[in-house]
């Protein structure tokens, strides 16, 4: 028998990964992906607090990049910020993978 909570969790994890893929393809705005990822990570059932902490840390790094760009009315990220963002997204994906396993 398949555990319903487990199935729902896996589905939400897949949704998060698909959302990140869509963002990397440029189909979703930065502000939107931040809001949706935050909501989805807090909707994951039975997630270890340490893994949630890793997700929140990676998300926080993304949020800081957005907040700084927003405060200076920067419409395009600098190359340095874009690299930082890539790194933060990689860390978030790693944490999401941990939640899946």
């Amino acid at each position: 028998m398949v555990d319903e909570t487990d199935t729902r969790g896996r589905s939400k994890v897949e949704d998060m990964l698909q959302l990140i893929d869509a963002f990397r393809r440029g189909e979703i705005r930065f502000a939107d992906v931040l809001d949706r990822l935050w909501a989805q990570m807090h909707d994951l059932p039975q997630i270890a607090p340490s893994v949630l902490g890793e997700m929140e840390d990676a998300w926080t790094d993304m949020e800081i990049i957005f907040a700084k760009a927003s405060a200076t009315r920067q419409r395009v990220l600098s190359a340095g910020d874009a690299d930082e963002l890539d790194g933060a997204i990689d860390r978030l994906v790693e944490a999401i993978e941990k939640a899946r396993s």
Binding site: A31, D57, F66, A67, K68, S70
Partner: protein, 190 residues
């Protein structure tokens, strides 16, 4: 004309008088903007009665982009009713604006709030959007931004975490501006 401190804010009645005087061309406090509109020193404020005492509640200061003075950040136009003409300058936050809660956030479209200075601390528009969406008050922010709550610097921004209120605040140390704030149950990594 210097910006007024909250203690010297004009009451709504005073604003009405100033606006009327300015409109009639005799107001000493008023002057004309580039488009001919009236500009007077004012902020969004209203009177309220608390514990039997009348007090002036200060709102947010805004500059009027259409006025030709650049030295006064508290200049906005007021109409004869003491209000800001619609569509003039930036939107002013209102007590009627919806506010979310920590456990029940609401979505605030990015760019809803313009930057503002609250009790001497600058806030970015994004920070105010986050605060409105999650029901985070400026006093909670002030409570979090203390040396003992400092966690680390990240990408040129200082992260604070208030363990009691489970609140994370990010400040740009160069300008002391709050750039974002979010509730977090688990403290950020050090």
């Amino acid at each position: 004309m210097a910006a007024l401190s909250p203690a010297t804010l004009p009451s709504r009645d005073t604003l009405r008088g100033v606006a009327r005087a300015t409109r009639d061309g005799g107001g000493r406090a008023g002057r004309s903007g580039a488009d001919g509109s009236s500009c007077v020193v004012a902020v969004a404020s209203h009177d309220r009665i608390r514990n039997g005492k009348r007090e002036v509640v200060a709102g947010y200061t805004r500059s009027n982009p259409f006025c030709d003075r650049s030295d006064d950040s508290a200049v906005i136009p007021v109409n004869e009713r003491g209000g800001v003409p619609p569509g003039f300058g930036q939107r002013l936050p209102s007590p009627r604006d919806p506010v979310g809660r920590l456990r029940g956030p609401i979505e605030i479209a990015p760019g809803t709030n313009p930057p503002a200075n609250i009790r001497g601390r600058p806030y970015s528009g994004h920070a105010l959007d986050r605060m409105q969406g999650r029901g985070i008050s400026p006093s909670a922010i002030e409570n979090a931004v203390r040396p003992e709550n400092f966690v680390r610097s990240s990408k040129g921004a200082d992260i604070y975490w208030d363990a009691a209120n489970k609140l994370m605040v990010v400040v740009d140390p160069r300008t002391n501006t709050v750039i974002t704030a979010m509730p977090r149950n688990v403290g950020p990594r050090r």
